[in-house]
Symmetry: C2
Subunit: 458 residues, 2 copies
Amino acid sequence: MPDDAAVKYLLDDAELPTHWYNVVADLPTPPPPPLRPDTGEPVGPDDLAPLFPPELISQEVSGERYIEIPEPVRAVYRQWRPSPLYRARRLEQAWGTPARIYYKYEGVSPAGSHKTNTAVPQAYYNSINGITRLTTETGAGQWGTALAFACALFELSCEVWQVGASYDTKPARRTLIETFGATVHRSPSRDTISGKAFAEDHPGSLGIAISEAVEVAAADPEIKYALGSVLNHVLLHQTVIGEETLRQLDKAGETGADLVIGCAGGGSNLAGLVFPFLREKLAGNQSPRLLAVEPAACPTLTRGEYRYDFGDTAGLTPLLKMYTLGHDFVPSAIHAGGLRYHGMAPLVSHVVSQGMVDATAIPQNECFAAALEFARTEGIVAAPESAHAIAAARREASACAESGREQVIVLGLSGHGLLELGAYASYLAGGLADESPDADSPSSVDLRTALGTVPVVG
Amino acid sequence: MPDDAAVKYLLDDAELPTHWYNVVADLPTPPPPPLRPDTGEPVGPDDLAPLFPPELISQEVSGERYIEIPEPVRAVYRQWRPSPLYRARRLEQAWGTPARIYYKYEGVSPAGSHKTNTAVPQAYYNSINGITRLTTETGAGQWGTALAFACALFELSCEVWQVGASYDTKPARRTLIETFGATVHRSPSRDTISGKAFAEDHPGSLGIAISEAVEVAAADPEIKYALGSVLNHVLLHQTVIGEETLRQLDKAGETGADLVIGCAGGGSNLAGLVFPFLREKLAGNQSPRLLAVEPAACPTLTRGEYRYDFGDTAGLTPLLKMYTLGHDFVPSAIHAGGLRYHGMAPLVSHVVSQGMVDATAIPQNECFAAALEFARTEGIVAAPESAHAIAAARREASACAESGREQVIVLGLSGHGLLELGAYASYLAGGLADESPDADSPSSVDLRTALGTVPVVG
């Protein structure tokens, strides 16, 4: 076989994971619980009941190591899972590195990203509880697409609040969500109190869109809310990525990884890939460095504070102990829309605070440069989010080229960028700015006061 | 397993076909040869030498049944091949049909369609002959994308003439081609005599774009031309699709297919899927009906004449015996850009004329209606071209629902439609017209006169 041959490592349907992995069971210290903002007490299952079905609440607070994946969910997963792990031999040659670079590709899912891994179980659990409609937010659009797909399969209606800047500039994303049968609102919308607190032409943020979707779900018992990242149960569902990757590396003849890289916005893609590796590390089976990559324009882990904050802008969610840039932070309009989130999953924040996972921030021009090299060698146009993982791999591969170290690098390619070609066009035309994180953060708005008595969690 | 579970049939890397299948070896009568327009004599290998490397010319005129796929080509194929065959159980349920519907999905390729199957060997054979640049045309953009990808791998530069209407309305497609490193010209361009024969704002056609790319390649010995359909060697390369499908149906426990459906523009997707089935049919191993589906707006096989005509608008190609609407036919601006071609591959035309393959034409609204049902059950947004095959399957599935017949239907899903969401948006908004084929066919233009002494084939 030629040195530059594409090599993929597939698993049989029979090797599809039967269980999700819950990292909480293996952590030396438990992560701090979410708190009710009114009482300061830990949030209990009853507090979450207006928003989520019982199975998801149970998963959210579970300490069990493994949670079985229901067969109807596995039946859907089988359409694209196990997803392929590729050895990037052509990329290694282009970079002149002795490192062996592998990428786990989640863009093969129907919605084009890892988000489908949690959208399917969330839709499933809601459907078996008689729920008829789900609400959600979407930034880059990957999550809204995934939930729309999952709702189509389980015959739920689906309403998506799409961050205004994304809605305005990416009509194809809206069309894709509608093709799957969902309804799309521009956020801030006029349909909610949370939305009306902002001007109609405001570019929006994930925090605002979350507030809108939560507000609508909390007001009607037949409507539930679905979140695409941050929460424990979402991270749990994503662990199929890392579980498969471990088996595939074994098939590739590797005894383990030296470096595992995932981009981090809300944290679910990163956690899905690295938590199973963290289990192996804590068990002493291998000792990979685990690395979260975030955009320089939204450096939550590298420049945020580790403290309790709201998950949304309006303050409708419980208080979460996490790295945060402040719940009113509005990052500049970088192209990696999925990484423009002020906070970070509490579980990811916890393991980063404990030194078990490292973090770095990379400016977007460097990410697109790496993604272009990736496209021209591996043939895959990466999502701008995933480009951050490629850029981090390039830094490491370059260090290996200098030192001669034959590291095994695994990067999570969370999705394709076929609906983000406008970003590539801007990069090719030389038009991308590397914004500072402080570029257009607005002054704080006290939405909790404005919202008054909306019935919400916490 | 639930009745509506997605079921995929994969093959191991070791089951990747080692040979392409040449249907010519098994045809009861040979297809009529291409002719030189100046002499009326059959075209010989020397006539093709200005445009193609020797291996492709040899394949073009070969009568051998099997032609070995070079290992460097198989090494690239392995990135996404063997491509999956799916049983569309959720779609069957939605359609309430007893038919068992399978789809062979070529959208998993790096370029998103079947076109990569021939782009890779074409780039490979040119590269080993010291060629430095390839020129080509693209309509919908699938072919230009595939060739750009293949040229990136084999370090050739690549120039693409994109049909004007496509260039103007689909900037993302152009960006994708550029992301893979190729140069894109709007056709008709000012760079060629063929292009200058038309107004700069002319919407263009595949025939015009072919003329431009051929003209540039013919004028420079270091530049060759690559065609994405029509010719024998292109159809040959696509037969990996049908060869894999036969093996996968066997794995699915089927003794054969009752109906095999492919959309047909230039004919390569159709041929790639059905020719291996035709071999089995001629050998008496199974007796599937083979069906070509074309748009009602460009009904080459169903309403065209079977006669010698040029493959391009300017008349730079040899004369090909084929079904044709006339080489100056400009179909209305339907969304299935890849099916807007005035002619049809001579080999496909030959087997249709002999009654071995049937043809039908379907209006685009019916195609999008079927594609929307497909997206909401199978989770894949089909290319508008592929939607024609889905619509034909729906007609047959509906007949099965009435008759109770448990037919095995195989449809070729030639590509995804993620760069064609504008077409879906128009359909969702109710804005698609079902144009007649005569809508805006222009009066004939004698380009051969205008072109004078351009050095070209034939």
